[in-house]
């Protein structure tokens, strides 16, 4: 298996990584890059950010994210489960809106404090 060239997405540096067939990573500026390189080649994951409907808040939508990265191939399944959520204010950053999104074992949490309006 030939080397894989990747761009690390952990931080804005965007280091160009090379991962060989033994999963050795070069080109990373920091240790997180080595972790990312291996992960991306074996089981690429992403954090998904989106919005969910919310009632009784000043806005109609509440932003959410997956608390950890989820397998890249499950992005649209996770989106499908996010799309069904309907919250009611008040909600706070970190509140869990889906315990386990699309059987990934990862929760979806609120990312904005939204107070209840009268």
């Amino acid at each position: 298996m030939a080397d894989t060239n990747l761009i690390c997405i952990n931080c804005p540096r965007g280091c160009h990584l090379t991962v060989d067939e033994h999963l050795n990573v070069t080109g990373n500026f920091c240790p997180r890059g080595a972790v990312y390189g291996k992960q991306e080649v074996t089981n690429p994951t992403r954090v998904v950010t989106s919005t969910v409907r919310i009632d009784q808040a000043e806005l109609a939508l509440c932003p959410v994210k997956t608390a950890q990265p989820i397998p890249k191939k499950k992005i649209f399944e996770v989106m499908a489960s996010i799309n069904e959520v309907h919250l009611t204010a008040p909600v706070h950053i970190g509140d869990v809106v889906i315990g386990d999104a699309a059987a990934t074992g990862v929760a979806v949490v609120v990312t904005r404090n939204m107070e209840k309006i009268s």
């Binding site: 969910v52 939508l61 799309n83 069904e84 959520v85 309907h86």
Partner: protein, 479 residues
């Protein structure tokens, strides 16, 4: 049975309606677009020409000069911004200088105040003019006007006085039945004693519904640049080059809102719906403008647009009853100087042409003014505070670039001419006209319109039918 049915609510149709609204007549105006003044009347140079340019003895000359004289009082009555800044027709090389004398003679024949200036005088008036200037014709009675409110407020006045306006309704057929007309639209059928054809680009098609016509309306496109408000004083008058066979040429002017307008080009095209702009034409406009004012700050461009003139094959305005019928009145080919002429055309059509076939009895309760639009930023601080205390909406800024408050938008929505689209609100209040071009405020305006008309944001249009801004809602599964 209507007394008068007017086809078209551009500047001409709106002023005919206004003039007729003084009399005890039932008047219906049918407009195919979603707003009044939505085609040629909203895409022009916004100039109240003095009248030196049209050939003496033509209808263009007659109505231009009459209309120009009406402007100051009219704009007061209708709460329209008007600036009598004067026009300068500029010669930039020696060959052009004799032509200035010709223009002076023409001005005098048309009864227009005009004066020849030498290069030093021109430079004193216009510090940024091409240093090679050889002289200019100054016409102090020329000016600038807000074309959007001129049209809309004329119609508002007409509607306040009882004229009925149907927007979004297209005339499909007109036929004569005994002593009156049957007008069929895409929505309904009407009967009227008199029909006024003020259908702009399509006036030849409407006229031909009654009888064959020898004239045609040719769409003639003009492309423009709009520059942002910035330090005033780029130009102090409306600057024209010498006119040519193609028209008045590329002008450089300020607008009533403090922007600068550069254009238009002039090109007869085939398609009456083609409003595309293109790079080579705009480059040519730019070059021509720079021969008047070399240092136009094109970096301040906020928009380019094009308009279509309704150019008559007869080269003069067509304002007359049809050959066959004195009660079918064509008002067609109202290209430049159409905007400034429209109030005078309105009076003439009402009094002389409609008046020739219908009795004109003055209404007892007629008002020639509209309710003034409040402009908070023009008020002193204490007046503004009183206004905001009475109505907090005047303290809420919706359009940051043009400083338009919620109070002004709600006022516009409440008037007798509806604002159905984002563009209509833009034309009335200037919301979205600024440097960010609605980047911050358009979502707010969409929501305002959706709430006001109790429709979904998906149904809010930008301007024409089919111009929805939002195509879908998200998270429908959650509902």
């Amino acid at each position: 049975m209507e007394d008068v049915l007017i086809i078209g609510a551009g500047a001409v149709g709106c002023f005919i309606a206004r003039s007729l609204s003084r009399y005890e007549l039932s008047v219906l105006v049918l407009e195919k677009e979603n707003d009044v003044g939505d085609v040629t009347s909203m895409a022009n140079s916004a100039i109240a020409h003095s009248g030196y340019d049209p050939e003496p003895g033509t209808k263009k000359a007659k109505f231009n000069v009459l209309g120009n004289k009406m402007m100051p009082l009219l704009c007061q009555e209708l709460d329209v911004s008007f600036g009598k800044v004067g026009t300068l027709t500029v010669a930039v090389d020696d060959d052009q200088v004799p032509l200035l004398a010709d223009l002076l003679a023409r001005a005098q024949l048309n009864g227009v105040e005009a004066k020849l200036l030498g290069p030093a005088e021109v430079k004193a008036l216009e510090p940024n003019i091409n240093p090679a200037v050889k002289g200019a014709l100054l016409c102090p009675t020329g000016g600038i006007v807000n074309p959007f409110t001129l049209t809309a407020h004329a119609m508002e006045n007409a509607c306040d006085n009882g004229v009925k306006l149907h927007l979004s309704e297209t005339v499909l057929a007109v036929s004569r039945l005994y002593d009156h007309y049957v007008v069929k639209t895409d929505k309904d059928t009407y009967e009227a004693k008199v029909v006024v054809n003020a259908a702009g680009l399509h006036a030849d098609e409407i006229a031909a519904m009654i009888e064959p016509v020898s004239w045609k309306i040719l769409p003639r496109k003009g492309e423009y640049y709009v520059l942002n408000h910035y330090a005033p004083g780029l130009v102090n008058h409306v600057l024209f080059p010498l006119p040519s066979a193609k028209g008045k040429g590329v002008l450089v002017t300020m607008t009533t809102s403090g922007n600068y307008l550069v254009g238009p080009s002039s090109e007869v095209i085939d398609d009456k719906e083609d409003l595309a702009t293109d790079t080579p034409t705009l480059a040519s406009v730019r070059a021509q403008a720079q021969s008047l004012v070399p240092n136009i700050p094109f970096g301040e461009q906020i928009r380019v647009f094009s308009g279509l003139r309704a150019t008559p094959s007869t080269h003069d305005f067509i304002i007359e009853a049809s050959q066959k019928y004195p009660d079918f009145i064509n008002v067609a080919g109202i290209e430049s100087p159409g905007l400034v002429s429209s109030p005078a055309i309105g009076e003439y059509v009402a009094k002389d042409l409609v008046g020739a076939v219908l009795p004109l009895k003055e209404k007892a309760a007629y008002t020639k003014t509209i309710k003034k639009y409040v402009c908070p930023l023009s008020l002193h601080r204490d007046e503004r505070n009183a206004l905001i205390q009475a109505n907090p909406d005047y303290g809420e800024m919706v359009c940051d670039c043009e400083k338009v408050t919620l109070g002004e938008i709600k006022d516009a929505l409440s008037r007798s001419v509806p604002c159905l689209t984002v563009k209509a609100l833009k034309k009335r209040t200037r919301v979205g006209f600024g440097k960010c071009q609605g980047g911050f405020c358009q979502p707010k305006v969409v929501r305002l319109l959706a709430d006001y008309y109790h429709i979904s944001p998906l149904e809010v249009l930008y301007d024409k039918s089919g111009s929805a801004i939002i195509l879908d809602e998200i998270k429908k599964e959650a509902k």
